[in-house]
Subunit: 599 residues, 2 copies
């Protein structure tokens, strides 16, 4: 049954809000929010940016700066409101002078606690889908008729050669592909450059046993969802094949086997010069926009342990590991204790290696089943689908929770997890494995947002550690490498034929340093993280992921990355920003942040 009182509350608030907005009264707008903690998150609908305004003053400031430009503003309730624990909430539709979109509203005592506004299409620049889809056949008779195949071949032959792309995306993983698909549908000429040969190789070339740790409902690409028999946890090669077919049928302009070597920006011309090596040939591209989608994990971190050059065995970063099958009976040491470290250690053990893990700091460990059922499955699962929560609705719900309040909402989930898997945690305790639930107990998702790592979603390796099958060295640092192994800070020595550094990655602006210059990398600053002032994510508080999917301090330079969920959701927000610029729609950016950290 619809809760008509709740529906009425939502509608009344939206009515007051639109009236205040359209009257150009920023203080009236701000007064509709809860005094104290209130948050307005905007994805490009009002700010031409991704911002969360926290508190009435910040909200009034954005309203003052931006509302005149975007009104008339309209909003309506999209679905039945829910009411629980003093919060009334509903999905909404919005419309501005420039865009249509959606959003989410949470009320406390008739005032807004959180508001999300999100542009989903630019007026006059809608995607050619549904009723706008192309006809395909050219009816009538035409003596100069070109077939689809001829036109497609022509596009492939011209773009980047005789005709410049408006946008170049460096990196053809799920991020580059999802964004490429959005831009293709929006008619923005875009070239994706990927150093590996075939689309999907970004997954295929990783370690053999890899499956996605996120479930299928969370992983759909835009436009073509996985069919409903797709495995819950996609094996890497199967995902690779899906990406490859996606690139083909979405007609993306994708140059595999192409290394992007240099990029520099000519501010006067508002244009990049990008040098790429394709099939042994240097090609110069002149796009207006450059998107780095080279992996939110950035450049591999390889620790500079003394004595590295003296070690007689094999050493590699986790990103270079492929399979344990070459290491039967070998002594293998994995430095690190997050997801890749665990996956690689288990893979080595399964192949009959003698494996040790060196844990240098605590890890959030959660059993995959528990995480699915108690956390992610609330929005992404067959159960959620049965409750009417489609991927689109789930995505909007996720986006509706500002980073400020997300951690506190996770705490009860981790209380449940701790209780449910007490047995696992006791066994890890016994072997000295250092686990925790994050700096504030808010678990994996928060840790992912803060630093992109710090956890293991347990699919079996924790048992190997608890059972002593993978030897554990914890509460130690690596002091130096010797010819035969590692000397640790507790004075012990671990012999090794192979050392795998599962020691993570640097910030994405490291790619900018490699490709453009240190100066530009420093100018845009650190990527990812929200300023939580926890390990790997220094303060001050920024409220949104640094530099991701939004304007940076370097004109024409954008960062796109993250898991499949983020690739899907934020590719839309980024694509609309690029489309607006392509079409010459003015895009005054509100709230471009100050850079606090260079990497």
């Amino acid at each position: 049954m619809p809760d008509t009182t709740a529906n009425g509350e939502i509608e009344a608030w939206l009515d007051r809000f639109t009236r205040a907005a359209n009257a150009g009264d920023p203080d009236a707008v701000a007064s509709l929010f809860v005094p104290g903690e209130c948050l307005w998150r905007d994805l490009v609908a009002v700010s031409w940016n991704i911002v969360t305004c926290e508190g009435q003053a910040a909200i009034a400031d954005m309203a003052r700066a931006r509302l005149d430009d975007v009104r008339p503003f309209a909003a309506s309730r999209e679905a039945d409101a829910k009411s629980a624990d003093g919060i009334v909430e509903a999905r909404i539709r919005i419309e501005t002078r420039l865009a249509r979109g959606d959003g989410y509203l949470r009320l406390k005592d008739g005032k807004a606690w959180t508001l999300l506004t999100r542009a989903t299409e630019l007026k006059g620049h809608e995607e050619p889908s549904g009723r706008r889809r192309p006809r395909g056949a050219l009816h009538g008779v035409h003596r100069d008729r070109k077939t689809w195949a001829e036109l497609r071949r022509q596009e492939e032959e011209e773009l980047g050669i005789s005709r410049q792309p408006y946008c170049v995306i460096v990196g053809g993983g799920q991020g580059g592909i999802a964004l490429g698909a959005r831009l293709k549908r929006l008619g923005v000429p875009t070239l994706i450059l990927e150093k590996l040969e075939r689309p999907g190789d970004t997954w295929r070339k990783r370690y053999k046993s890899l499956c996605l740790h996120d479930p299928v409902w969370y992983d759909h690409l835009p436009y073509i969802p996985f069919p409903d028999h797709w495995p819950v946890f996609s094996p890497k090669d199967k995902l690779g094949d899906w990406l490859e077919m996606y690139v083909k049928v979405m007609e993306l302009d994708y140059w595999g086997g192409t290394t992007c070597e240099r990029a520099s920006y000519d501010a006067a011309r508002g244009e990049w010069t990008v040098t790429a090596l394709r099939g042994g040939k240097t090609i110069t591209l002149k796009p207006k926009q450059l998107v780095l989608a080279t992996g939110m994990s950035g450049v591999p971190n390889v620790p500079a342990f003394p004595g590295r050059e003296t070690f007689a065995g094999e050493q590699m970063h986790s990103s270079g590991f492929t399979s344990g099958d070459h290491y039967v009976g070998k002594r293998c040491v994995v430095v690190g204790s997050n997801n890749s470290a665990h996956d690689i250690a288990a893979d080595l053990w399964e192949h009959g290696a003698d494996v040790a893990m060196i844990q240098r700091s605590p890890t959030i460990v959660v059993r995959s089943d528990s995480l699915m059922e108690l956390a992610i499955g609330q929005n992404y699962s067959e159960d959620a689908l049965d409750r009417g929560i489609t991927t689109e609705i789930a995505d909007l719900t996720m986006a509706s929770v500002p980073y400020r309040i997300a951690p506190q909402r996770s705490l009860p989930v981790y209380d449940q997890i701790r209780a449910r898997d007490r047995d696992l945690y006791e066994r890890l305790d016994k072997v000295g494995f250092q686990y925790h639930f994050g700096a504030d107990g808010s678990g994996i998702h928060t840790s992912y947002i803060r630093r992109g790592s710090g956890y293991y979603i347990d699919v079996g390796a924790s048992d190997l550690i608890a059972d002593g099958k993978i030897a554990l060295k914890s509460r130690v640092e690596v002091e130096r490498l010797t010819r035969t192994g590692l000397r640790l800070s507790d004075g012990s020595e671990v012999p090794a034929d192979l050392i795998v550094y599962a020691t993570g990655f640097g910030s994405m602006n490291g790619w900018a340093a490699q490709l453009i210059s240190r100066e530009v990398a420093d100018k845009v600053g650190k990527c990812w993280g929200v300023g939580s002032d926890t390990a790997g994510d220094p303060g001050p508080w920024e409220g949104e992921l640094r530099n991701m999917w939004k304007p940076t301090r370097q004109e024409g330079l954008w960062f796109h990355g993250g898991n499949l969920f983020q690739s899907r959701v934020y590719s839309l927000t980024l694509a609309l920003q690029l489309k607006a610029r392509f079409e010459g729609v003015p895009t005054p950016v509100y709230g471009l942040p100050v850079v606090h950290h260079t990497g």
Copy 2:
């Protein structure tokens, strides 16, 4: 607003029906149908066959023969009933001892006029989708772990080589692919043999200008619908790419570049011996089931005109035509006046050839736009989607209309079309083009069901004919070929450098004659057509398409074919029959028809 009276009528009837069915009272079942014209169409749910029982006696007969075996029988209303013109109708759900399914009921004065019952899954043998989907990752640690890629490679290497498929499908067009996908999901080991190299080549290799004549909403494959920017009329190469990616991501076992040479059935062993040539190597397969999906159009009909060997120019069947670009300035004659004839004539004209069409019998001509808006668009269009008619609902609605009553339901549509496009028809009259609307005025769809051809969906060529740009010779026969052209029955001579025979195809059992034997081809008899006693579809009335997607007089031999709609819908019905046999579920077939025509 739901029509509660109509809903109640449907529910009351279903209640009476299920009580009579479960009481094992065939006469009581039959008495619930309208005396005189009443029709029960069953797709495998009751009959293990595709049958339409017409009249109370036939209905009682099927009930007597089959209900004891399938009960308990349950049925419920699936959606709100509609009531108009004295008919109350609704989609329904059904369940038998063996299967779950859906259906459609139309009542007149409380009695059933038409009933559709259709199995959609076999109990205990459901597809592994939704909650039954595989996990993908193998959680836990496993020393003999095989990755998805390894298992997939193993399957590819073994099937048909060291392990026999249960089913071989000859022909890898949309028919073989859709059926292959169904069988893959159902876990029936199946090999698809296709003489062309790549999946999709069945479309790619056809004439260059070809686009689908059916719109996208009608053309989805099972499981992975086209994204919503897909063109209305799919260009052939784009469709080819889609089919190719579909084969890959659905993991079909598809042998391209493989010619099926011979097949023979060993009744004692219940097994086929199929000889195939793959990459120059002869391979012998031993499937239990053999499906011919080599195109419902069958073997090309090339008319045996006297003097064919004396003609000095080029001659080809329409299926061999690729593009007009070799015929600039040449004199080209197209024999025939249906879809391919028109498309090829227009293509030649567009390339600057001098084109004549020889029309030997009347053609149903309907403008594409009119057909879309007034006929097919009622169920398959953006409008239909807006009215809540998904592809699944549209498919069920289409299946719910028995062939006996389909023509009369089309008559008003063609009255509208005639009025709307009067101008076109007057212009065709003036140049002597013989058009009509089918033997009984029921138009294209009926003609397609009766003979698989007989019409042109006008996308431009009719204008060329009306304008005299394509020269027309009508009401004539070809008397003989000369060295330089064609001599016609009116004594005239048409000079030609190229003759294209757009003269259609034989019955699909012609493939059985080629592959198996004339004896088996004659035993199963003519394929397609319903016995309407009109041109190309001799009586007596059979009520269902002959031999299509259902048991034939040759054990283990099946025919699958048709457009994308039929490939989608009937692949399910056929797949369930094959799955039941694979699993050893007894499948007593009700109403295997007598063969009246050998081809």
